[in-house]
Symmetry: C2
């Protein structure tokens, strides 16, 4: 069995997460038991939710245990199999974690899934045609309840969730306006992803100013919003929200470091009769088949052109992850492990 | 025609509303035109929403115009009628405003409604069997989606909305816990209204302390909450909210004076996958018949015993209204005009 390289959580962040919270170790991969499959990872996905797991505080999921492999989605190939449904060479997806190889109990429902490596690049199963894509789909359809003619917005628009959201919203006949950090990202959101407009939040120092920029981009107000960030962005959007606006809350990335991140004007929830709802997509598995079918078609047809930031090698994962939390990535953040 | 006594909005509040924002004037009541009815008001309802109308700022309704009669719900008797469906002596309900008499165009749908003065006291049509009662009904059923076994909470529990909410929640088999200001109100909420418990927010100086008291009263957490107040109370409830908790936002009374009233931990919306929704009951007229039927039955059977604070005489209305905003009332705040 090959020697495995593994990144574990060494200690929990006090304030901002840093690369020193992680530790790279090596260990032999264990012998396979009946029903198990050895997977060689090609790509590891880095996602904001991992920051929440690094803290011991109350969250919707169990904290990441110390000295164990960091949780993470992966795609790769079967190297060895003791399960009748899997054989070497097959392309598969699993929650393999931040490591070169994983041993998966293939009898656990949903633990190991074959994916089609021909129609689209396998890395997209970690992004547009994976959890981030379905996340966008759920928020847009089930919470925002998007319909043709609505103006909908999304923060972190150039990211994996945001780009899928834009393509899905356009397919529904919405006007879609992104919010992103920096001119380059905003240009990409409009020119490559096909959003109607994109507002650069870094050009504005407070939510009032950002809100004015949103008013120019959304002269008819905002009917639905998908929140990946929170803080000043959410405050600005709420000020421009139309009556009966619906807001899907998927991320509060700016609050992960534990600093207070209040909502400035909750009274607007009442004044505009808004609905605000938080969700995590793994609790809504019933929508995945429908969502993935639509997302696969959008990628295959070129209507959704997901961009990826690819860090090379497992040892680059911590720095790439810290960069993701600071918005340094451009599109879906991956680590290439081969 | 009788001489009318009218309270108008003389000037808009800067900060807190005061009695000096209002002015009492007299004027003759106009001659009736065809289709009009002259109503002599017996009771005027005072409600927190009026504070929102006093400001010129964006709100869900038009601001109250200066130098015009203050808006308000009334019950009374028909004095004269030029409409075939109404005749003198009938008991009616209308939005008659802060004045002794009103002239109502009875052809406007919903403008004038006959009420039954035999089964229950007519003042209840301004409270438990009126807008406040239906407000409680809508929030509990349509937003919180209350079911047997849930723990549900309400702020301003001793008020008109809160008392109806408690009776409705008990009828559904919920555990219902109130939040109110002062020992007398809390005792009333438990002993007279039949809540399972009531937490006195005035005993706590911050939301953390209030949250601990809520934990004792709601050891299984909070599944649904009806918010009449906002601020520290909402912060405390959110900290105790269970996964998938639903919060109906009906009032943010603490924010009406324009001071910033942030939500301290909006990240909890995501962590607990909460749904928070604002509403005003006049936009949901389709539920009124069903809601009023249930509320009438609860009052007639004694399961809902609404308490009233009654100020005497139109000239007492401004002070009673300011008291309402400060929580000095005990139960539904009315002004008796006869």
């Amino acid at each position: 069995m090959p020697i495995n390289h593994i990144i574990v959580l060494d200690n929990r962040p006090e304030g901002e997460a840093t690369v020193n919270n992680f530790k790279l170790i090596t260990a032999p991969t264990p012998e396979l038991q009946e029903g198990q499959v050895l997977v060689k990872h090609h790509y590891l996905s880095l996602d904001p939710y991992m920051r929440g797991r690094m803290s011991a505080a109350k969250n919707y999921a169990q904290p990441q245990p110390l000295n164990e492999v960091m949780i993470g989605g992966t795609v790769g190939e079967v190297l060895e199999s003791k399960h009748p449904k899997f054989s070497p060479g097959q392309t598969v997806q699993c929650m393999g974690g931040w490591q070169a190889y994983s041993v998966i109990n293939a009898n656990t429902p949903g633990a190991l899934k074959r994916v089609n490596a021909e129609e689209i690049s396998i890395s997209h199963y970690l992004g547009a045609v994976g959890m981030p894509g379905v996340t966008a789909w759920y928020g847009l359809n089930k919470i925002i309840q998007a319909k043709a003619g609505m103006t909908v917005t999304v923060s972190a628009a150039s990211g994996a969730v945001g780009s899928a959201y834009g393509a899905l919203a356009k397919a529904r006949g919405c006007k879609v306006v992104g919010i992103a950090g920096g001119r380059a990202k905003c240009d990409y959101v409009v020119k490559e992803l096909g959003f109607d407009a994109c507002v650069d939040y870094k050009e504005h120092t407070d939510y009032i100013a950002l809100s004015k920029a949103l008013k120019e981009a959304c002269p008819n107000g905002i009917d639905g919003h998908f929140e990946n960030v929170g803080g000043m962005v959410l405050d600005a959007v709420m000020l421009r929200a139309n009556d009966f606006a619906r807001i899907a809350v998927c991320g509060m990335i700016a609050g992960y470091n534990g600093e207070p991140l209040p909502m400035t004007n909750p009274t607007l929830i009442l004044k505009s009769r808004m609905a605000i709802e938080g969700f995590i997509v793994s609790e809504h598995m019933e929508v995945w088949p429908e969502a993935l079918a639509e997302l696969t078609a959008l990628v295959a047809s070129g209507q959704l052109k997901p961009r990826e930031s690819v860090a090379q090698g497992l040892e680059a994962a911590p720095e790439a992850f810290i960069g993701l939390l600071k918005g340094h990535n451009f599109g879906k953040q991956l680590v290439k492990l081969i």
